[in-house]
């Protein structure tokens, strides 16, 4: 019983959108879109699961004075401040969470602009550095495959900058060709294979064969 119900639910929930995919009839579509609108809400509810876990873990850390516990205080402070303004904002306290009509920032928006965005942007920007170190290490002509990788990367990098164009006008043309033909062909191959793999996985989930995500093991 405890094991069958979730599997049946998965089967029916999975059959609905597949049915609706082929059947344009209004009521079928309605069932599917209604379920969709429910699940968006379920995903919203789920965030609290994460919040609970974060608060638990960090409170524990502080209590036990575990290694690095002062940072747990900083984390919880960030969560409390932003969470408070965000929660209050949904009741239109402090003018909501966006900018006010006169263009001034609400506290939530201010923290977003001067805290969240620079932190996020800088973490993202670190990629430029990491690409440099990764390419230095990995693009080495050790064997046939690595040599192909190396040359494709070098040609494209040259083809993207004016310098490459000045050396030879073939660099940008070669870049375009590589991106448009062999690279595109490989990506198509990956996509077709991966889509089949995903569909097969989906079928196994709907049929209840794959169920480790439910913590139901592989069956007994």
């Amino acid at each position: 019983m405890k094991r069958q119900i979730p599997l049946l639910l998965t089967f029916f929930a999975g059959a609905i959108p597949i049915f609706a995919f082929f059947v344009p009839e209004k009521h079928v579509g309605l069932v599917s879109t209604t379920l969709d609108s429910w699940l968006i809400i379920v995903a919203g509810f789920a965030l609290l699961l994460g919040v609970v876990n974060v608060v638990q873990m960090n409170a524990n850390k502080i209590k036990r004075q575990a290694q690095g516990w002062p940072y747990a205080i900083i984390l919880l402070a960030g969560l409390a401040i932003m969470g408070f303004f965000g929660f209050a904002g949904s009741f239109n306290v402090f003018g909501g969470i966006a900018t006010r009509p006169d263009g001034s920032s609400t506290p939530f928006d201010w923290l977003y602009k001067y805290g969240f965005l620079p932190l996020q942007g800088t973490m993202f920007a670190l990629l430029a550095f990491f690409m440099a170190s990764a390419s230095y290490r990995a693009f080495r002509a050790r064997n046939t495959e690595a040599t192909i990788l190396l040359f494709a990367a070098l040609i494209v990098m040259f083809g993207r900058i004016p310098f490459g164009e000045m050396v030879s006008k073939w660099f940008p043309l070669a870049t375009e060709w590589i991106m448009g033909k062999p690279s595109m062909a490989a990506q198509r191959g990956i996509m077709i294979g991966a889509a089949l793999g995903a569909a097969s996985m989906a079928l196994r989930v709907i049929l209840g064969i794959e169920r480790s995500y439910l913590g139901l093991g592989k069956g007994e």
């Binding site: 965000g86 805290g115 996020q120 670190l126 198509r188």
Partner: protein, 210 residues
């Protein structure tokens, strides 16, 4: 003199950049604050952009038309049954419906939206019409050889092995080219941060001091 917001943003930017040298208390401070702040941010976003417009407002404003949303809230609450040992097993129901529905949606999306058009677009004419024929041939061979590389239930020896080797070469061209092509976009992001540091923070600061 830059304003307090600019100072804060510059401080966080520098803290994050310091990770490149090595892990240090400044990075750890920024990282911890960022983790908390971002989670708080999404509390605000989920409340304001998901739960309020999709659940609370419809229920409050017109219960008769939207009563079915009570089930949605019910499914959401079921997730929390895991904290009550006796009914913890029920919490799987929400997960089961969630996974089942999207797996169904994605299955059709993959078959209809990816497999069919990608195969269709590769059905290129190989009758001679100049250099384009050769490029069409490259495309067809590329797709076929990569597909054969992914063939699992045959040993990759002989012809199959040879073709799948060609598939690997195509994959390598694609990975190298995609890597090289992405560099520019990533540098643009770095330029954005550096322009901020130099022009919006350092320049006014130096101007103020001198």
């Amino acid at each position: 003199m830059p304003g307090i917001g600019t100072w804060l943003a510059a401080f966080f930017t520098l803290c994050m950049l310091s990770f490149l040298y090595k892990d240090n208390p400044f990075f750890r401070l920024a990282e911890s604050f960022f983790a908390g702040l971002s989670l708080g941010y999404y509390i605000g976003i989920v409340m304001n952009q998901t739960l309020k417009p999709n659940l609370f407002l419809p229920l409050v404003q017109d219960f008769h038309a939207n009563w079915h949303l009570v089930f949605a809230a019910g499914l959401g609450i079921i997730l929390y049954f895991r904290y009550i040992r006796r009914v913890a097993w029920v919490s799987r129901w929400a997960l089961a419906v969630y996974v089942g529905y999207y797996v169904g949606v994605n299955m059709m999306q993959k078959l209809h939206g990816e497999v069919i058009p990608q195969v269709g677009d590769t059905m290129l004419s190989l009758s001679y019409h100049g250099i384009g024929t050769l490029w069409n041939l490259v495309m067809v061979i590329g797709v076929l050889s990569v597909l054969i590389y992914f063939y699992f239930s045959t040993e990759h020896r002989g012809v199959v092995g040879g073709v799948s080797r060609i598939g690997i070469w195509f994959l390598m061209i694609s990975f190298g080219a995609a890597f090289g092509y992405t560099v520019m976009g990533r540098i643009s992001l770095l330029i954005g941060r550096m322009v901020f540091l130099v022009n919006e923070w350092a320049r006014p600061l130096i101007g103020h001091i001198t």
